[in-house]
């Protein structure tokens, strides 16, 4: 293999591909990044769960395929000066030259490198930025507890041209609907994608205008399915999660007894401030009355904080308590200057949405905290 490539596209592609490197490789070769040079340079990583592949449109002087330490390559490329990079393989080593710096990397056994899963046929496509922000909005509510694996996923529901993303850790539930362009009309299906992978993917795939989503579940049990995302010369696949997902629709309150609207940024700032005195697992308490919301945290035995902010409020006076972090997550996730909170009772879930007419495309459902007296 022999080729020359500009530093910037190489650095970006290597950094992106390196994200899928396993922290604890189950086989030494999986710590490697595969470089395939021909009409273009293709970089790959794979740990049998997640694969990542980036392509740089640069033709090789001599085609070839090598596997080198991914971590090391990423660190080296990140530190290079802004000059063209020469890559050349000689026997068991690859030499990387950039400016007056020369690195020699040992090759990992390329024939032991696993075959990356094929990208399934494209199911549909969605705007990269919209997709990334939608995933960011729901990923915050995904569970992190590996003993409930289904909850560590984001559920993607496809109903013709509507894509619904759902995540819940049992204490809050985030639902986002967005339009997408399915390849085939009338498609109805739902899959469960690891939230961590999907979150990473969303952040990383924004270089292209569109993300192609590719699903393979048919004819196999759900656990064997994979999902692929492709856009801007990059693609990633991940295994789908299996397991039953809660019937979240029944958790979405449909009727409300009160609605408050607050300036989102000021509200989030106020919650952060009063939460400074809220000890672990203790709530921030909110009292809503027409024109005003009073936030409180802490106890008489310890420190206390209180702050009042302007709020429009419609309904019976409401006193309710939330986990401050969950509340801040929700306020931060709405795509609006005004946060609208809809209540039923102080012990039933409240719903945070942005301000707007009709059915909001994003809903963050939060279970209040109760005092265990």
């Amino acid at each position: 293999m022999k080729l020359q490539v500009e530093r910037d596209p190489l650095a970006e592609a290597v950094a992106w591909t390196a994200r899928a490197l396993p922290a604890r490789p189950t086989a030494p070769v999986l710590a490697g990044m595969r470089l395939q040079a021909d009409q273009e340079l293709m970089l790959s990583t794979f740990d049998y769960e997640v694969s990542a592949q980036a392509t740089i449109p640069v033709a090789a002087d001599e085609p070839g395929t090598v596997v080198v330490s991914g971590r090391l390559l990423a660190e080296i490329v990140r530190s290079l000066p802004a000059k063209p990079v020469d890559l050349a393989t000689d026997g068991t080593r690859t030499t990387l030259r950039c400016g007056s710096a020369t690195f020699t990397l040992m090759l990992l056994p390329g024939d032991e490198y696993p075959t990356l899963p094929d990208m399934p046929p494209t199911t549909g496509s969605v705007g990269a930025d919209a997709f990334a922000s939608a995933i960011g909005q729901v990923a915050i509510a995904a569970g992190r507890d590996d003993t409930l694996p289904a909850l560590t996923g984001i559920r993607m529901e496809i109903a013709d041209d509507t894509l619904t993303l759902v995540a819940t850790d049992r204490y809050r539930l985030a639902v986002r609907e967005l339009r997408w362009t399915p390849v085939q009309a009338g498609l109805n299906m739902a899959v469960l994608v690891p939230a961590r992978v999907l979150g990473d993917t969303a952040r990383a795939l924004t270089t292209g205008a569109e993300v192609a989503v590719a699903l393979a579940t048919e004819g196999e049990s759900a656990g064997d399915g994979i999902i692929g995302f492709e856009g801007g010369g990059r693609r990633t696949t991940t295994r789908l999660l299996s397991g039953e997902y809660p019937r979240y629709q029944t958790l979405l309150p449909s009727e409300f007894s009160a609605v408050a609207e607050l300036p989102a940024a000021a509200f989030a700032e106020a919650v952060k401030r009063v939460a400074l005195v809220a000890e672990r697992n203790t709530p921030v308490r909110l009292a809503f009355a027409p024109g005003e919301a009073v936030l409180e945290a802490g106890t008489g035995d310890e420190a206390q904080a209180t702050e009042a902010i302007e709020a429009s409020f419609d309904g019976d006076e409401m006193q309710i308590a939330f986990n401050p972090q969950y509340l801040i997550d929700g306020i931060g996730a709405i795509d609006s200057d005004t946060a609208r909170i809809s209540f039923t009772t102080p012990t039933r879930p409240a719903v945070i949405t942005g301000k707007g007419e009709g059915q909001p495309d994003y809903r963050y459902v939060l279970m209040p905290i109760r005092s265990a007296g």
Binding site: L151, R170, T250, L251, P283, T299, T347, M367, A372, G373
Partner: protein
């Protein structure tokens, strides 16, 4: 008994106390059976493999000592009264004794149920000299618990421990800071901590019989013979140097229950049922104490006596049997027992306690507003009025009497058509 007010005893700088109960288990048993006082009494396992756990000084006079097979003790002292152990009782007495210590100083380091180090240097102004404090503790233990203890008073831990052993039973011994070497050096070498059987043989081979002999051996020789660490340690102790501080350990805040099966059990259904019962008792105890806890601990003792403990910390503290039981089942299933493994004992415990009042609770979205907590509180109330076992989980209905009455949750009702997020519904 040495007089603590003897002006010859200079206890200044002797802030460390080692308090050791005298023949603890046997003394506790004698409390309930005063007619046995003055007779040789042995507490020990009654089975064929039982060993002596505790023996009165009358029994020790016949050569009976702890860890000796009970059979051998019977041969040595056929007249002795043999009593099976009541561990729960000893633990209870121990807690009360430790509470006496903790009223003196928070710096209490329990070594076992029946002994502890106390650093009383901070209590001198309030309560008097270390010797006086030692005497006060002895008096309180005797008055409140009806058993005796011995107290060693010294400037460091290991000297205090040796001192308490040398004034037993029912004694108090002060080793003045200036008199440590006079006290230590004539003692046999094996009083030093860390002298096991092998080191003891080595000491004997080197002709080092007393602590003084060790002290006067060149450090290099000790290091050469015992290794750098052990050699240096022996030499430091022989010169009365022990820098270890009293490390207070808070009383473990936990609530739990355990049950030894009459016969070993391998049926997972029976084990789960026992976990259900124990979870009910634990939750009831939590609610009675007004506490909630975050960490559920399951103890599984195999027929071979191998004991497995598994714990899991919940996202939210609980006092609900259903939640404790659900976690206990996960822990049991995840313990990696061979199928058919026979269990001798199971236990359920909740730690990480804090007062329920003021504790806030993050319910899950799919928790019903009136859930298990309310149901179990209702059962508490029924139990209070109609007696234990008036209401019990369906799985425990029809159990024979004599078992500790379950104060667990009512039978689960199937709720159809209601959303339940995965994982919070323990299998019955």
């Amino acid at each position: 008994m040495p007089d603590p007010d003897d002006s010859a005893l200079d206890d200044s700088g002797c802030g460390i106390l080692h308090v050791d109960m005298d023949a603890f288990y046997a003394s506790v048993e004698l409390r309930d059976r005063p007619e046995l006082a003055g007779r040789p009494v042995v507490v020990g396992g009654m089975g064929s493999r039982g060993v002596v756990l505790s023996a009165t000084y009358e029994a020790r006079a016949f050569g009976v000592h702890s860890a000796m097979p009970v059979g051998q003790a019977r041969r040595l002292c056929p007249r002795a009264v043999f009593i099976p152990p009541r561990h729960a009782l000893y633990a209870q007495v121990s807690r009360e004794v430790m509470a006496i210590f903790r009223a003196v100083t928070p710096e209490v380091e329990p070594l076992a149920l029946d002994e502890a180090f106390l650093d009383v240097s901070g209590a001198v102004r309030r309560l008097g000299t270390p010797a006086r404090i030692g005497q006060m503790i002895r008096a309180q233990v005797h008055e409140q618990q009806g058993i005796t203890c011995s107290v060693g008073v010294a400037s460091c831990k290991f000297v205090a421990k040796i001192a308490s052993a040398r004034c037993k039973p029912d004694g108090l011994l002060v080793v003045p800071a200036a008199g440590v070497l006079d006290f230590l050096h004539p003692l046999p070498a094996d009083v030093l901590w860390g002298v096991g059987e092998r080191a003891g043989q080595l000491l004997a081979r080197l002709g080092l019989r007393t602590v003084g002999d060790i002290a006067h051996t060149p450090l290099a020789t000790l290091r050469h013979e015992f290794g750098a660490a052990v050699g240096g340690h022996l030499w430091a102790l022989a010169w009365g140097r022990d820098e270890r501080r009293v490390v207070p350990r808070r009383e473990e805040k936990s609530v739990g229950a355990e049950e030894t099966f009459p016969a070993d059990v391998s049926d997972p259904e029976l084990i789960r049922r026992e976990l259900l019962r124990l979870s009910g008792r634990t939750a009831h105890a939590l609610r009675s104490a007004g506490c909630v806890g975050r960490t559920v601990v399951v103890k599984l003792r195999l027929a071979s006596f191998k004991t497995i403990t598994r714990s899991r910390t919940l996202a939210e503290p609980t006092d609900v049997a259903r939640e404790i039981y659900g976690t206990a089942c996960l822990l049991y299933e995840g313990a990696g027992l061979d199928s058919g493994a026979r269990l001798r004992l199971v236990g359920v415990r909740v730690s990480g306690l804090r007062p329920a009042a003021g504790a806030s609770l993050q319910p899950a979205l799919d928790d019903r507003p009136s859930g298990w907590r309310e149901a179990e509180r209702a059962v508490d109330e029924i139990t209070r009025r109609f007696g234990t076992g008036a209401v019990r989980p369906a799985a425990l209905v029809g159990e024979p009497g004599g078992v500790p009455a379950p104060e667990g949750p009512p039978p689960p009702s199937k709720t159809h058509g209601e959303a339940r997020i995965l994982g919070n519904e323990p299998r019955m």
